[in-house]
Amino acid sequence: MTFPINVESAIPKHRHQLLKWNGWGYQDSKFVFKDNEVYFSGKRYPIGELKLPHFVGWVTNVLGIDALKEQTHQPPPTNLDYPPPNISDEIIKTLELLNLSHSLNVMDRVVRAHGHTLNDMFILKFGKFERIPDIVIWPECHDHVVEIVKLAEEYNLVIIPFGGGTAVSGAVECPIDERRPIISLDTSQMNRILWLNEENLVACCECGIIGQDLERTLNDLGYTTGHEPDSYEFSSLGGWVATRASGMKKNLYGNIEDLTVHIKMVTPKGVLEKGCQVPRLSCGPDFNHIIMGSEGSLGVITEVVIKIRPLPKCRKYGSIVFPDFEYGVKCMREVARQRCQPASIRLMDNDQFKFGVILKPESSYFGIMLDGIKQFYITKIKGFDSDRMCVMTLLLEGDPEEVKINEKKLYNIGSQFKGVPAGEKNGERGYMLTFVIAYIRDLGLQYNVVAESFETSVPWNKAVTLVRNVKHVVIEECTKAGIVCFVINSRVTQTYDSGCVIYFYLGFNYSNIQNPVEVHHHLEEKARDEIIACGGSVSHHHGVGKLRKKWYPETVSKVGVNLYLCAKKELDPKNIFATNNFVDSVPHSKL
């Protein structure tokens, strides 16, 4: 091992050469609807190149998709589509002097003007952004960032830090009214592992390293961070810290706030960091918590010391079927009470359970028969109603012995709540689909369907009511809006001592709707209002950004808002990081 490790990233510097410029993920991977059949293209994912025979029936019945009504998306943007960049020659000269890689190319700017909200995707496919960055700069190390921030201070430029571009909060979008030149500070070239300490089990990485590169490199050395958010193929370490990310296996490895040991952030006032690298500190308010979740509004996170763990010796999947959602939630609550959560434990509601079935590839005759037997056992012998039952999926990691004991315990708890073990295969499929589901939206947008997910955290005692109420409100609002075909389903994706995390998927066919994005936004707002009224939070890990500002003040209190503004004023008096997140357009006079 020689440090620093220069990691070769799976994603090129000009990301649109490999990734879709107007959709999710790799260009070669997508759902294809052809000859009245659906398959997933490419070989990157386990369901690649397999026909999905149940898919077409579902989308036609449930979402009313008409194969003939395929929408055509607009071609990639050209220089004519957007105003020329507002960057003076003087600045360009300075950048060149400092040897900072940069681009004024319209494509480079457009692909960094957005995250992955429905609104972003809709604009890419059918519209135009009102504001895009004027320039993209690729710093290659901490010192470069310091130089760029200095430059911005000097010339009164705006910086929007850009990591993996997977935000679903509107956090990286340019404020429409911003007149100053906007720099998109792309951290992707800052992706080295600077050092690794096996004694302390920590690694110091630059902020731009993306999840899959970090994991691949650490795995080769026998380690893992265990941090696995659904976007981990594309999202970056800095982005995780900036949004307070959470990973699927947080039960075993912790959320980002548990994983980070030391953070460096470059602000217009200098570098904010601790003077030591210790496991815990009693020394006034922890300023790491001002950096975590700051969503690019206070500075640029440049280097992070993150915990690593030896790779687990054993990994095992599992699944349990419950007669209904309430039994499933009660079981999860019990698992949390006994604190025997495996690396991941999730509960899908009936609609998602059914949705999971449509992603089943064609299987052999024997496979179909086996499915039939399982179905017979569960519905006829156990008396489960197929319109109400739901499934819990489990992922266990660790020493084989521990995994075995834990597994037994979980199935025991499951049986107390009428749960029936449903095999490893079902569990494994559930987790594999995690990374594929994000691709479905692009197919939907081709056939008049818009979709989005939203999440929340909620105390245990309010979880079931929250799910029921939110679904009710969404159904009512859909009906009011004249929407005929829609889906609203949910799952519990994380458990804590005092509560859990709930994920909702909402999608609808907009063939008869004038302004689908606005309608969707309205539906989501109503849903979030209900979430908050039911005791849920503004977000568990997606963040606030621009999309969820409405609920920021009541979440943190008026004093909290002022405290944030004070920190902002102190760290960034000129509002260089004018992301406009959390609080509506920070007035210049206040700063």
Binding site: R388, N461, T465, N469, I532
Partner: protein, 691 residues
Amino acid sequence: MVGQLLNVNNRQKVLHMARKMDKYEDIIENRRNDLINWNWSTRTLRTQVAVKIYPRPAPESHKLAVLHAPKIRELVDEISSKRNIKKEIIAKEVVEILEEIGYKKSLKVIRYLSYALTKIFLNISSGIFVNYQGISKIKSQMGNRPVIFVPSHRSYADFIIFSYVFFYYDIEIPAIAAGMDFHSMMGMGEMLRNTGAFFMRRTYNDDSLYWSIFKEYVYQLVCKGDLPIEFFIEGTRSRSNKSVTPKYGLINMILKAYFLSEVPDILFVPVSINYDRLLEENLFAFELLGIPKPKETTSAFFKSLSIIKQNYGNIFFHFGDPISTRDILEDKINRTKYSKGPTHIHEINEEEKRVIPILAYEIVRKQQSSTVISYFNLIALILNNHITRDQNTTSLHELCSEVRILRNVLRLWGAPIFERDIEETVLETLMVHKGLVTTDENQTIGLITNKITTGKLNADKLKAHALSENTISYSVPFITLQIYANPVLHYLVDGALVVIILRSVGEMAIDDLFKHFCFLRAIFSYEFVLLESWYKMQFESSLNNLLGQNIIICKNGQYNIYENKYFEEVLISSIQPFILSHYVITEMLLKTAAQVDEKTIFTNAQKLLEEAINEKKMFIHPYCMSLDSFGNCLGSLGKMKVIEKKQINGKNVFNINQQSIAKVKRDLEIYIPSFHVIKSFDIFLHIKSKL
């Protein structure tokens, strides 16, 4: 102006069409032709529930849930340590109270009852008419949130017939909030309980254990129950056959589940009920005079059943559009404050209590405007109008032509009235009411008077003045007649007020007219239930109505009385007894001490009016002695902050603001000249001279 009128006419036409399309069906029609009916009573039921829950909660589960509710457990602990009694003993008390409250469900009882009721209805009524489209609309919205049926309360028969309607339409019979008076009727209470009734004590004492249990029980029914719930928002049967101002007790308990986000929404279904003939018609007249109702006993009930071998005509049910709590209150309150702490520690706060009237009044408003007006309601109004003008009889021919005029205009003004052959229907309905209205061989029609005997009355039990037997026998038929005219007043009162203003003060511009209107409307806001926020709309639509019938005219922006003399009289006479009673009450308040109890006010007012009536110098409508109207007057004056109500030793006592009451009286006197029109101006002078 002409254009405006045309528009109004068009709009009224649309409204009229909508009414006509709103079809009603007679749900006992098929039973009449069915020889056995037992098969119908025992048919397979596929009932619609309010909330689909698996497995369906049993009645006992709600009682258990209350017993184990943290709130009740904490209360038991508290009482036990305070009174130093063992917890088990208090818990036993809780169980007993729950047994007293809780509903049960026996399909057997329901089936037998449906059979017996079929027999009774076929005997005593001509038809039970229900707007079936309303029913199917509600049915289609049931299944995913609590549904609360809120009928108007006109008779003891209401909720039994109501349950029968549900049975007919395969809707799960609701859990019905019933008064304890039913509970104490031997056999009856348990039978009703078995169809889903739960019981609520009427005492408003501070038995905190009882009320905590009751509240928790209702909360459980809303949050965890699958039955619809039914309660009477008016709190009691309306003795006057008009809407009563809403009471907030039960709706508070129900809404708590929404405020605490335990349910996503609550649907309220306003239902209006109207009877061709009320079972309690004479009882109500007595009660309005202050002679209390006899205690409900089972034998009395059966006695009343034996009396009702007679024909009671038709019964009309209108199921209104469901009102979504979320739609109405979503923007008005912030529910997030309950997101912290265990749910059971929260009680609804003042902010929420302030918005509840909006919903409660909306329900009552919907009940008012969808009440089917019967032909006898029209006849009663017409006879009343004649009597007020000292014409004690009329001919069948004249009556029918007046019914026609009134019906057609009222329909334009939005009243749901069936399209039927007038003469046939009038004769039919007169038969139903042959105890109240006579038709002799010359087809002369008049009120039957002085036929009522009261027997010895126990003066201690009278609620106000000890009226003489003579006065009572004289008054009861007139009051009964007014009771039947009352449902129509919902459509007349606003127009009547406008006419009274214009007739008394003379022509004026719309803004002045509205100021006068607001004053009078506020005085009558209890008598003719209306929330202030609706004044403007009601005013405008009544202006349009009056203009459309040439009752008033608008020239150069000035409004004045026009040429429809007949309708002007109808309008003014329709509310004359109410103006009189309200006027007398304000006079009484002005004449008494700064603090006075309710009974004294009522007694003095009745005494004065009894004397005036007995002098027989002129006709004074005995309805003006109605304690209900007196109470309404005090209610609205209280709301206007002219008087202030207090409870002292269980008595209602009022503090009077002398200056304000003097002003109210002066303001009221402005409108007295209008009574020249119906030749009853002298009544006021006469009454004034006596004061």
